[in-house]
Symmetry: C2
Subunit: 305 residues, 2 copies
């Protein structure tokens, strides 16, 4: 029997889980009904359309992700880092619907950097606490990749890297994309070459704006096949993200847990290994586990307070 | 009387100069007939259409820019850095047309970086030698910005930064562009804030992939108006280019001469000043001056050998 429903409702995807009292995921549902696809704020209609058959009066629904942002259904103030399950549970915001239904929105997390610049996450915090770890380094690749450090069960530090969105913009809308050919599967050598150049410490190599041009010239001089250019750029950007993150973290970075879609996570595990970091893929259904832990901490699941 | 015609024929622009025996520019012509707009390799037809009235049997025509690339009219092998007027003149390639006409194509310059990665320029070399300087630092902003160091009258070092193209791709095709509002003229404070953050040396600031996200969060937290976001991103990217270039160059960078379109050059002069570098705008018609100097060195202009 379901003890709760969990939603991971982001920009471009809608994911739902029905979860038992023991935390086991009983059913999964996913669609492209991300918040950008919802017309005129009709979130309730979309929710009923997507998983109406799962909804029951009194059954808690807990939602994480951009659904709790200004562009979503109900804006929830960010919890301030360090934040863990208890802080996220304390920050839940409840919205009552008709038919005895209510949705609880999980807050995102904000952090003010030592350089005075704020950073934010919405959705990733739920995946991170879903791992149930006390400490560790988490990497969540994506359009806006997140790196987070967990201490005493709470997200103590995190940072965002615009890697995925930069890759898509460069591939789709610059000369680098126009030089790319075909897609004969993953080119591991080209990817590794990109990671290696991202890691170059020669003063001559400059930073990312300069290194990007190598994707042009290595092709021009026949050192990189046009078919490998996309994976070279991918390696260059993911490798740059890893190098930047290690700068932020400083020495002694612990083994990293990489969450997210399998193909992309595998690229990160590979880039981390090439950068000398131990990495392993996270177990699946982290978001569901996080939603369950937050619901329990909030006393939403019967018998637990 | 014209002693030669000079062409600066690039990807998206066609520029022509009629030049007297003393090097003075007598007439200027510019259009959007860049090589990307030329159908089916019909470069000669486009040339006759654009400046047919200037062409005369025996009048030398010297062309620099991407017209001499694989995608252009005639591919000219790169001269190897260090290269100055003499090396460029020695590398000219002549193409004879009907009616006693001939076009001489200026080679670009290639350089193998200390990190093993090659770099190239085509067109900028002509502008740089056009300044007639013996030494100095040149900055040529654009889609692919070039920085070059002149020693003993020759281009000894140069590097390319994809700043302009990255800016356009990020503004046009990421969340950062979607957050930008209006265009109430240049926002000097936002631009300076972007340059300042590009110059942050806090480990926390990471590199460009992390810093880009500040354009999102500073807006989210009301520290940057949506109307200033485009200039903030411009400052962040140009400031990053300057910081990367200074890393390449090392200490003791000389005063920089900034060539290029006025509005963009002014942004660079501003970013260089904010980065502690002396900078001045280059005189106009650098390309014409370079084409003239190369033609003279090649003995193409009567009486000079």
């Amino acid at each position: 029997m379901d003890a709760m429903l969990g939603l991971d409702w982001g920009i471009s995807a809608f994911r739902a889980y029905s979860i038992g009292a023991d935390g086991a995921v009983r059913r999964r549902y996913a669609s492209a009904a991300g918040i950008l696809s919802v017309p005129d704020g009709r979130f309730e209609a979309v929710l009923r359309c997507e998983i109406g058959r799962w909804l029951k009066p009194g059954l808690p629904v807990v939602a994480a992700g951009m659904i709790g942002s200004r562009q979503g259904w109900r804006e929830v103030p960010y919890a301030r880092a360090p934040a863990g399950v208890d802080e996220l549970a304390a920050g839940l915001r409840r919205l009552d619907l008709a038919d005895g239904l209510a949705v609880q929105f999980v807050p995102g997390v904000e952090r003010l950097g030592a350089d005075g610049v704020p950073d934010v996450m919405r959705g990733e915090e739920t995946q991170i606490v879903g791992a149930g770890a006390d400490a560790g380094l988490f990497v969540l690749p994506g359009s806006h990749s997140k790196w987070a450090r967990l201490e005493a069960g709470r997200i103590a530090w995190f940072a965002t890297f615009m890697t995925g969105e930069v890759f898509a913009a460069l591939k789709g809308h610059t000369i680098l994309g126009r030089l790319m050919r075909g897609d004969g599967g993953f080119d591991a050598a080209a990817f590794a070459a990109g990671v290696a150049y991202a890691r170059s410490e020669a003063a001559e190599s400059g930073g990312l704006l300069k290194r990007l041009f190598s994707a042009r010239t290595l092709g021009l001089f026949g050192q990189l096949p046009a078919e490998g250019l996309s994976d070279y750029l991918s390696g260059l950007l993911i490798g740059s993200e890893v190098a930047e993150a290690l700068t932020c973290i400083g020495g002694g970075a612990p083994a990293a847990t990489v969450a997210g879609g399998e193909a992309l996570a595998q690229r990160y595990v590979r880039a981390l290994a090439l950068s000398g970091l131990d990495a392993r893929a996270a177990p699946p259904d982290l978001a569901a586990a996080g939603l369950y832990r937050i619901a329990r901490a909030a006393g939403l699941i019967g018998g637990m307070a």
